[in-house]
Symmetry: C2
Subunit: 465 residues, 2 copies
């Protein structure tokens, strides 16, 4: 733990009331949504300016204090957990939209701006911030950038990376770098901005970000389609992708749907029971597009790939169809799911899913497996539900064994052990399944360039040296 | 120069006939389109495989031989120039499309695949490779990646960076890194792929690239609009961008048009003489879109932003309108233009252009300035034409003075001294106008991670140590 004299010095760098050490704050700010690790920070500090962040980093370098960045703490990999006496740097008071340019469609955000806040800001200006996911209501832009957040619209809009026009960062050395200056074209050497996106705070802190906005989507329309088997989802994706510009292509299994139906507050999409469902979305800008969608649907039915389907005819129907997919994560949380967030190239999905189902089913026939995810991006969320009669500890111990098998299959398919949740602490020991030893060595050397004293979120992505 | 014994050893690593030292080859492969620097390589080597590239890099490390990558050599900044006894590594024999996946819409390319070849391959498969520019007929994919090539469709499709799904590189240490494995989502630490894009071969060589393709555009339609002044171009851009998804938004001045008209082989867009012209393009997928475009045009005329205009009604008319823009560079090359490729955020363009026009006009009223460029991206090509009665040396010496003023203005506007042509040697000494000393120090340290002996394209981006 950081000693009192050192913490007293920290209090001289910011408003002293913005350094918290009470147990409730340490508990609240020391963890993220993983909740695996007992939080144990030394203090929480709330900077109000870039200068204060710089002063905190300089102080941390002087005293070799480890810093952990803290945004909305909605992460699922422990990247924002402070379990080892670190000082948490929380961006809650750097939460303003600083500037907006309607012409350039850019918004300058402090890192603590909440994702939903940016989405609403865009909407108020007739524009659109397209990165969207379950935790948009509390996640912050700084955290989105640190994890290169993805979500449900990636098939059309890409990851957070695509929307970062420029970044101001304070590196682990305490230098302020102004990266890319919001330019569309800038061929002047290595694009360091890209390194900080997805770096989980291990190189430095994002202290300001210029985010791009897009035009507002026009008449978003969803279809939910039931398929006779998993493999049919792929030609359905291919058929729709060939004829429409999709804004989303999600899937879920009958088990996932059953859990959501069990809530009693969401109408079923249609009568027919199907083992798998696809939810797709597009802009029905005019009748031609809607007709194209219906024609594609009919083609899929004729081919036997689709058993039944429904298309939204109103904003309310659109929202209700999305609930079928969006409520899954929250609903299954009652069963203490063991979660994996994996990705492969899209064309490999069917074989990959079969291999994983086989290995889990073979060794743990009593485990209920719920599949869903962003299948248009090759991103699958594998959820293993805890049997009611099994103790939590035993369940997680057995899942850890499954984990290794899953990652071996991921490695065999050249996939990613973390599609969009980051590495943090939960995936750290498995990084070698997705990145080679040579790559990991390069990453560590790059970290040393920006953070020579290793004070920036140590133990995240890599094991501590 | 590399000594004979060392070159003899090089010949054992590849087919000996694939090491050239004859004067014609040294001359041809030692330069790019800049033609400023007398080429002086020691040899040209043509690897045929990743293993051969690795062997060449290992050899270069053993003997401290500098290597220069060579693709289509269409660069405009001297990044592929070998003026100091380097060995040129030319990828002409690694020029195959290795794989194609219709489902994932990805193509695995060797680095020597020519841009046009990839565009045609995509077309043959009903798809589209959207990065396009003047030198597509001879530039290679490896070079496109090394410079993060941009061009005329960036407003819709982004730079080359957006289309690189995965990279295999041989680093300056001789290691093969397989970066991102073609995944859409991959949150497993720093995205090293991004570092190699735009690195101009200073970190390693791209030896394989998986490029994404897009759906083919539908009924591309162009408009050319004449405006009463430069400032009117901006509200025109804003109006069209608000109502249509543009695939291009280019501009050129009356001087640029006059030069192209002087050729006699391109029809004028319309009768009205205007000081500035915008060329915009969109997919007229259906009548609604075409009507929207016409309504926007009428709105612009009513506002006084547009004096006259024309919309293509056929593929031939589309091509003819594009010639007005595409022929500029080739046409003005007869006047030995001094070229600058600069960018700023789009909203700053009018003030920026005025400042530069003022300073050039004030000091060199006898210089003819031709403006054109990708204005939808904030990317301007400033071309100063040599007066007929001025000697080339004097002209370039005077332009070098102009250059400094231009870059001072670029710096003041937070812009880029090289929007899409890279740094190479021509912009190296001006890098500080766009990147801070701290950033440049980080870049050099990153180079040392991948290329500790400094053998990879030394003297490009940065001055040699």
């Amino acid at each position: 733990m950081t000693n009192t004299a050192v913490l007293d010095e920290l209090m001289t760098l910011v408003d002293p009331s913005k350094v918290l050490t009470d147990p409730a704050s340490l508990e609240a700010y020391g963890k993220d949504w993983t909740k695996h690790y007992p939080p144990a920070p030394s203090a929480i500090v709330f900077p109000r300016s870039i200068e204060q962040v710089q002063a905190i980093v300089a102080w941390a370098n002087r005293h070799k204090v480890a810093l952990v960045p803290s945004g909305g703490r909605t992460g699922l990999s422990g990247a924002a957990v402070a379990a080892n006496g670190e000082v948490v740097v929380a961006f809650d008071y750097m939460n303003k939209v600083l500037d907006f340019n309607a012409f350039d469609r850019t918004v300058v955000c402090q890192p603590g701006v909440v994702t939903r806040q940016l989405q609403q800001f865009a909407e108020e200006h007739g524009l659109y911030y397209p990165v969207d996911f379950a935790s948009s209501g509390s996640s912050q832009i700084g955290g989105n950038i640190g994890t290169n957040a993805g979500g449900i619209k990636v098939i059309r809009y890409g990851m957070t990376r695509n929307w970062v026009a420029g970044l101001k960062v304070v590196t682990g050395k305490g230098e302020v770098l102004e990266l890319n200056k919001d330019l569309i074209k800038n061929a002047t050497g290595y694009d360091l901005r890209q390194l900080f996106i997805g770096a989980e705070g291990t190189l430095g802190f994002v202290v300001e970000a210029t985010m791009r906005l897009d035009r507002a989507p026009r008449n978003l329309t969803a279809m939910v389609l039931g398929t006779p088997d998993f493999d049919s989802i792929m030609p359905v994706l291919h058929a729709f992708q060939g004829r429409l510009d999709l804004t989303a292509f999600e899937f879920f299994s009958d088990k996932a749907l059953a859990k959501v139906m069990g809530r009693g507050d969401v109408p079923p999409p249609f009568e027919t029971d199907c083992p798998f469902y696809a939810l797709l979305e597009f802009e029905a800008c005019n009748e031609d597009v809607a007709n194209e969608a219906l024609a594609t649907f009919e083609q899929c039915v004729e081919q036997g790939w689709v058993l039944d389907g429904v298309m939204s005819q109103s904003e309310t129907q659109l929202k209700n169809l999305w609930k079928l997919r969006e409520y899954i994560s929250e609903t299954i949380s009652h069963w203490t799911p063991y979660k994996n967030d994996i990705s492969i190239t899209v064309s490999k999905v069917p074989a990959f899913l079969r291999d994983i189902d086989a290995i889990v089913g073979q060794h743990y026939p009593d485990f209920e497996v719920v599949w869903y995810g962003h299948i248009g991006d090759g991103n699958l969320h594998l959820n293993i539900l805890k049997p009611d009669d099994m103790a939590k500890d035993e369940f997680f111990a057995r899942c850890a064994t499954v984990n290794k098998w899953v990652f071996e299959i991921v490695e065999r398919y050249n996939g990613s052990i973390s599609a969009e949740h980051g590495v943090g602490m939960t995936k750290r020991d498995y990084l070698g399944y997705s990145r080679s030893a040579a790559e990991i060595a390069c990453m560590k050397a790059i970290k040393a360039v920006f953070d020579p004293n290793g004070i920036m979120n140590p133990g995240k992505i890599f094991a501590p040296e």
